[in-house]
């Protein structure tokens, strides 16, 4: 019976394993196309593909992949042979994909040279990397100036006019703004950066070159504009402001049109001439390209499809998909049947193409964004001091030590009274006061920083973030070490076996036992042990250009060197470690304090509607934490958030929560406290139920005050139940990625990043430095192992 079941199971498993193989053979003749379009554009591409199929009789499978993680999916799927043959994506990853051999260049055999003349040259250029062309441009996107025709009769021609209009039309009290755009976003700032003659890469050497006078001038200009602009607006807010007529002008791309109301009377205009530099403002150009996967099964058919979509499909995409297509014949008179308004807009987008700079498609570009934006933010809003977390840690440590001393002044378990401890505790606590004072004074120092300085800093940071050249290390010692560890483990297991045998433990029914533990063992191995081993191994490698190079402990050396930056730099491992400790410590303290207080109140006999409150207080826990995080993120919004709304209503100045370390950190802290206290409350409620009420009554009759009852009776009895919860809560908080990623997003300047979110950044936002990120993860693991061992030791010693 048993073995028959087993056979059936094995057969099922076998079929499952075979399934992918069956699928891939069946679909070998198809061409697989991936895109990330939605709405009209999705419909259009499907129509074009349908036309192609009818025309050629080939079959194409179209897969709309969600925009999130599209790039990551391509990078992981294609090398494994599960990827598309042809895909549509923005051009800016071309370099990285080329280096990682994700895409294949289009040679002169593949395409007639003359075909390229039919595309706008800027868009073709965007798809070239190191001289090779990697795709055909499908569409292009760049920012233009949107303006509300009711508020702006004539769009500004140059920056002087723009500045005057912005000043005249802005009235922050009434929430009316002359101009709204994401001012700290480099994508939009590129308009001025190029307009002032700046650049990101030195045109001659190709090296990153941020610290130029021109770039600084563009920052200075943004600073002048920022006075009139709302703080920290995102895309959704901008479209609301513009739709409501509260924003006269907006700098945004063509996708913005889809967010605008039918009856909104707006115009688009080419971005203004920069009077100061005598050049045109030039935003980034994004070209959407059709790329040929390096693993394409049928190159000829794939190329045919690619050309068809780019050329013949252009008209459908332009009309049905409302795209700004790159295929120029589409714009010849009489081809498009636009409404006058649409035609006018199309003309403006085309005209803007004369003043654009394609976003660089070099792999290094991905590491430019964050530091440059941080530099811009600093230039506009000032820089926080990097010493703040250290001072905060000092204050908290002093207060904690002081309180411990005060509590130890009277130990009821031994009856020991040490009045001197009370004094020492008070003194230690008092010594925190000058430190707090110092923190406030350094805090009030931050004013806008000189743009050139911030740009030079950004330049340094980008260089720091670059993976150092990997030096191949000899894996032999590591393999030997691994082997040794395995041998020792095997030896220990054998010894335990022998010992048990000697003691008379009989190993009977071992086969059945093995069968029973097999599912758990397999699960543990695949879900815990294998990923751990892979992660550990990964931390010894460097990932470069699609290849893993064994580098031994170089990642750890780099990590412990703190990137060679000062300790106050947020890129330093030590800085992040201190922030993580602060984050964990304060969170757990607040969770326990609030949870405990609420549990004690919920237990009070005078409380009515107890069940109702209990459910109400557990709700924060029951809501998925990313939803809570997003809600809080919205509430902390500078202009439109509920919290600043309340502050304004009670006559306080609104706080730019994410501009300063302390406030940004507090925003994270508040959010996570909201999420964390219910767990501690529930644990405490349960533990309180196990403490007889009589004990507290006895203490009350004995003469203990409420505080003494809590401190000497309730707390010591709660401790055994609370400590494991505290350990668990600490581990969760230590690795609470969601809140950091969604609420503060590391702002300002990556300073509120914790180890785990920093690891994420190294892995996915700083050129896929998987090995280095794995080293972070290993360090996190060891810190937590040491921490939980320590706490359980303390707990055992206590019991």
């Amino acid at each position: 019976m048993n073995s028959r079941h087993l056979l059936i199971w094995l057969a099922c498993l076998g079929l499952l394993a075979l399934a992918p193989a069956l699928e891939s053979t069946a679909l070998a003749e198809e061409i697989l196309l991936w895109h990330a379009y939605r709405g009209d554009e999705k419909q259009a591409i499907e129509q074009v593909v349908h036309d192609y199929e009818t025309l050629t009789g080939n079959t194409v499978r179209v897969l709309a992949v969600p925009d999130e993680g599209y790039t990551n999916k391509l990078v992981t799927a294609i090398p494994r042979g599960n990827g598309p043959d042809v895909f549509i994506a923005a051009h800016d990853q071309t370099g990285s994909w080329s280096e990682n051999k994700i895409i294949s260049p289009l040679g002169s055999d593949d395409l007639p040279e003359a075909l390229l003349d039919d595309f706008h040259p800027q868009t073709v250029e965007a798809l070239r990397y190191k001289g090779d062309l990697y795709g055909l441009p499908v569409a292009f996107k760049s920012s233009v100036l949107f303006y509300n025709k009711k508020l702006v009769s004539q769009p500004p021609k140059d920056t002087v006019e723009l500045m005057a209009m912005v000043e005249a039309l802005t009235n922050p009290e009434a929430q009316k703004y002359g101009l709204v755009y994401e001012i700290t976003n480099l994508y939009f700032h590129s308009t001025w950066l190029h307009g002032f003659g700046g650049h990101i890469f030195d045109p001659d050497t190709g090296a990153i070159d941020l610290g130029t006078e021109e770039n600084a001038a563009s920052f200075e200009f943004a600073r002048r504009l920022s006075v009139f602009l709302p703080h920290d607006v995102d895309g959704a807010r901008i479209s609301k402001l513009f739709n409501d007529g509260d924003a006269a002008m907006v700098i945004n791309g063509p996708w913005f049109m889809a967010q605008l109301g039918e009856d909104l009377d707006y115009g688009v205009a080419v971005l203004p001439f920069v009077t100061e530099s005598r050049q045109w403002a030039a935003p980034f150009l994004t070209a959407e390209g059709l790329f040929l996967s390096s693993e394409a099964h049928n190159r000829k058919a794939s190329l045919e499809l690619l050309t068809y979509i780019a050329c013949e499909g252009a008209l459908t995409r332009a009309t049905l998909g409302k795209q700004m297509v790159a295929y120029l014949p589409t714009y010849e008179p009489g081809v498009l049947n636009d409404s006058p308004a649409a035609a006018e807009r199309r003309a403006v987008f085309l005209a803007q193409l004369d003043h654009v700079v394609p976003t660089s498609n070099r792999p290094e570009m991905s590491s430019v964004w964050a530091p440059t934006q941080q530099a811009l933010r600093k230039a506009l809003y000032g820089a926080p001091s990097g010493a703040t977390p250290y001072w905060m840690l000092v204050i908290i440590a002093l207060l904690a030590v002081g309180v411990v001393f005060m509590l130890k002044a009277h130990d009821v378990r031994t009856g020991l009274r040490r009045p001197s401890f009370m004094l020492i505790g008070l003194l230690v606590c008092a010594s925190a006061i000058p430190v707090i004072w110092h923190l406030f004074t350094i805090h009030s120092d931050d004013t806008a920083v000189d743009p050139l300085t911030t740009l030079r800093e950004a330049q340094t940071r980008i260089e720091v973030v670059q993976a150092p050249a990997a030096i191949q290390a000899n894996p032999a010692p590591f393999v030997a070490l691994f082997g040794l560890v395995m041998l020792i483990l095997a030896g220990l297991a054998y010894r335990a076996y022998q010992k048990n045998k000697k003691r008379g433990v009989e190993y009977t029914d071992t086969k059945v036992a093995a069968f029973y533990v097999a599912p758990a063992t397999i699960g543990m191995f695949t879900l815990v042990i294998a990923p751990f081993l892979v992660g550990t191994a990964l931390s010894l490698f460097s990932y470069e250009r699609g290849e893993f190079i064994f580098v031994g402990l170089q990642n750890f050396a780099r990590l412990f060197s703190g990137e060679g930056t000062p300790l106050t730099d947020s890129l330093s491992f030590y800085f992040t470690l201190v922030v993580t400790i602060l984050w964990t410590g304060l969170n757990v303290f607040l969770h326990v304090t609030i949870g405990l207080t609420l549990a004690l109140i919920l237990r009070e006999p005078w409380l009515k509607l107890r069940g109702f409150f209990r459910v109400l207080l557990i709700i924060p826990w029951a809501i998925p934490n990313y939803i809570t995080a997003l809600i809080w993120r919205g509430m902390f919004d500078y202009e439109f958030g509920a919290i600043n709304g309340i502050l304004k209503n009670i006559g306080l100045t609104p706080v730019a929560w994410f501009d300063d370390f302390i406030t940004s950190f507090s925003a994270n802290l508040i959010t996570n406290t909201w999420l964390g206290f219910p767990f501690m409350m529930v644990v405490t409620l349960g533990a309180l139920q196990a403490i007889p009420r009589d004990l507290e009554d006895a203490a009350a009759v004995d003469g203990a005050s409420a505080w003494q009852r809590f401190r000497f009776i309730t707390m010591p009895l709660l401790k055994p139940a609370l400590m494991p919860a505290v350990v668990l809560g600490s581990v969760w908080t230590f690795n609470m990625f969601n809140i950091i990623y969604l609420v503060s997003q590391g702002n300002p300047d990556s300073s509120t990043e914790i180890l785990i979110s920093e690891a994420y950044k190294w892995a996915f936002e700083r050129q896929y430095q998987y090995g280095y990120a794995a080293a972070y993860a290993i360090i996190v693991f060891f810190i937590l192992v040491v921490y939980s061992r320590m706490t359980s030791r303390i707990l055992e010693a206590d019991a």
């Binding site: 009821v412 009856g415 009274r417 006999p605 009554d697 006895a698 009350a700 009759v701 003469g703 203990a704």
Partner: protein, 379 residues
């Protein structure tokens, strides 16, 4: 040391349909050992907790000595309480359990040690002082709880069923020790129990509580011989009193009580007069099982079950269709068989008469002596 004065104490819990205590008036004398007794849920523990300050008073006043303590926190009342569960602090040694109350009252260390050692000696706990409560036996824990109460030399001791978690032998032993302790310390004591034997053996006076109403307060013997009502009569004494419905008959100046057409008994006319009864009235006749003689008499019964307890036997029977119990010497019950008819003699002196409607005692065959406090509390 001080007495306690309770005036019109009413307790109503939030959300409760009725009052738990319905107006308690009680004077507890200085140095007195008062036992509060009653069935479960009668409110006796609530009353004790009110005295301790662990429950608030809805209306009424409570004074310790001359001081009204209604609003006073337990820690300021200078009382000590021994809980049914003992409520020993599980994380503290025996010594710390006993010294905790002194420590939080900031007694000097040397004095604490002296007081704890004294109490430990008194209770025979000298060798247990450094153990944790979980290492002690039930009796020892009980002693620690008492030790914790006595070290502080409070004005009033409160005991909440302190012996109910002990086995029978230990309970008897501890009862004696409690009595001895009270003699030694002479502290005003309020002791709550549901066990009437504890009440009888320990109390200077007993207060019987039922459904939130004080039924009777008096010495154990007053309560035994002259219960104020049917509840007290049934509650005090073991085995419990028999109750039978009877009709008053008058024949030529001689009164008798008819239980059924076959059974009646003659009662002294003075008793009927004291009870204010007239011919043809219905009355509840109460008889203690020990007060009966078997063999001859005017009352007929049918033997049901005979339980032999040693020198005493309990004869369960039916009299006038009701269950009836006689406690007699085993020799008397020797040849009784289930189902056999029997005659009973019910001595007039042992008779108790109760109002059938209100249950109030109308008269007792044996008149109370000049003993004190025999009045029912709420008549």
């Amino acid at each position: 040391m001080a007495g306690l004065t309770l005036r019109g104490i009413i307790k109503r819990y939030v959300d409760a349909p009725s009052d738990t205590l319905k107006g308690i008036d009680l004077d507890i004398l200085d140095g007195e050992f008062l036992v509060l007794v009653g069935p479960s849920g009668c409110g006796k523990s609530t009353l004790l907790r009110i005295i301790a300050g662990l429950e608030s008073i809805t209306t009424g006043t409570l004074s310790i000595g001359d001081r009204e303590v209604n609003k006073l926190h337990p820690k300021d009342r200078d009382i000590a309480m021994v809980f049914q569960s003992y409520a020993l602090y599980p994380h503290m040694s025996v010594r710390r359990n006993m010294s905790f109350g002194l420590e939080v009252r900031k007694t000097p260390k040397a004095e604490i040690d002296k007081l704890v050692d004294e109490a430990a000696k008194l209770l025979g706990l000298e060798t247990q002082l450094d153990k944790l409560p979980k290492a002690l036996s039930g009796g020892q824990r009980q002693r620690v709880a008492m030790g914790r109460a006595i070290v502080r030399r409070p004005k009033v001791f409160l005991f909440d069923e302190p012996l109910s978690n002990l086995d029978a032998a230990l309970r008897t032993q501890m009862r004696v020790e409690m009595r001895r302790l009270h003699r030694a310390l002479a502290t005003t004591t309020v002791y709550v129990t549901h066990d009437q034997i504890e009440a009888m053996t320990l109390a200077d006076r007993i207060a019987v509580l039922d459904q939130g109403i004080l039924q009777q307060v008096g010495t154990p013997m007053t309560l035994f011989h002259a219960p104020a009502n049917r509840f007290v009569a049934g509650f005090i004494g073991s085995p419990a009193m028999n109750f039978l419905e009877a009709k008053v008959l008058s024949k030529g100046g001689q009164f008798s009580l008819e239980l059924d057409p076959k059974s009646s008994l003659v009662v002294a006319s003075s008793v009927i007069e004291r009870a204010g009864l007239e011919a043809n009235d219905t009355v509840i006749l109460g008889l203690r099982p020990q007060d009966l003689n078997l063999g001859v008499g005017t009352v007929h019964g049918l033997v049901d079950v005979v339980e032999t307890l040693g020198w005493e036997s309990h004869v369960h029977m039916k009299v006038a269709g009701e269950n009836f119990l006689a406690a007699v010497e085993t020799a008397q019950a020797h040849d009784l068989r289930p189902g056999s008819a029997i005659q009973l003699e019910l001595p007039t002196a042992a008779v108790h008469l109760f109002d059938p409607k209100t249950g109030v005692a109308l008269a007792h065959g044996r008149e109370p002596s000049d003993d004190d406090g025999s009045k029912g509390a709420d008549e």
